[in-house]
């Protein structure tokens, strides 16, 4: 359950950013999450909304943009989508590091992203200065 610590990191970064920008209310946080980043979206959303209560980002929408994995094979120079494991018992597709072309070991060049892409906010108004 590292989604909690990831959500904490998102919150800290966004709050710091929001303060520097003089944001009154954060409306939306856009994330870019790689296919190989090991992040469970539902859990992340739950943690995010739980910990941001009573902050300027408590009503913020969390938008998650998935980022597809790309592998590169040093043996046959293939670069593209990974081979997926059909025999896996997980509910979702399981990407592998097996080269789809030559079946040898490939490296992941994309898919480990876990980034805050952008933040949407409105400025604070002088009359709206609740704690």
């Amino acid at each position: 359950m590292h989604e909690f610590s990831l959500a904490t990191q998102i919150m800290e970064s966004v709050l710091e950013f929001a303060q520097a920008q003089g944001a009154g209310e954060v409306l939306k946080v856009r994330l870019r999450v790689g296919e190989l980043a090991c992040v469970e979206e539902e859990q992340l959303r739950f943690c995010f909304h739980s910990i941001t209560r009573e902050t300027v980002m408590e009503k913020a929408e969390l938008e998650i943009e998935p980022c597809a994995a790309v592998v590169h094979c040093l043996h046959c120079n293939y670069e593209g989508p990974p081979k997926y494991w059909e025999g896996a018992i997980a509910g979702t597709l399981v990407p592998t590091l097996q080269c789809p072309r030559c079946s040898r070991g490939a490296d992941a060049v994309k898919g480990h992203e876990f980034e805050i892409k952008s933040v949407q906010f409105i400025h604070s108004t002088p009359s709206h200065s609740t704690a």
Partner: protein
Amino acid sequence: MTTTTTTIPTIQASPEEIYDIELEHSLLEANAKLAKENRAVLDRRGITAIDFMGAIGSGKTTLISRLVEKLKPKIGVAVFNGDASVSTDYDKVAGQDVPVVQIATVNGCHLDANLVGKALKKIDLGKTGLIFIENIGNLICPAEFPLGSKARVVVVSVTEGPYMVKKHPHMFLGAEIVVINKTDLAEAMGVSIEELTRDVHTLNPAIKVIPVSCKTRAGVEEVASALLAI
């Protein structure tokens, strides 16, 4: 309050105006940067660090203990024990007369490069050639948090059942060596080591898989040689 901002040219945003600002801020970057720093410290001194990952009870500590026994006469070994709170693993390895640092994550579910960097300051690096870092017993989280180690070992054991690898595919994508432990119990468990090996290679053909029984010490020598060759 006196105002000092009058001399600074400022563009005042109109209230309620919506801003959308690109941040492009990587949340894993801070850890990745510290991991690189750890690695640089180690490389400069010719020290190899190995990260051990695996479920609770898979035999990480026992394997490390066996490896220490084997490698201590050849090379200066130190051990970092990551644990949420207890020190039983620390006590086990500390009895072997090698430097041991307990890294308590309290409620954290994985070690991070910052904690490992702090642990590096607690040992005499001049007398160290090899560091074993035992990660928290968790098969999902540590995968995305590099520590600065040169190689990652995943310890699975046959007592975790036949679907161990299929259930936790992520952990194997970033590892160099997989130790299948408790092979002495494979028959009793009805678990096929060949099948577990095949699953690992389906995910990542570049991984070296070594069947081991920490109890009988079968395969421990092979792990030790593989680590020295890294």
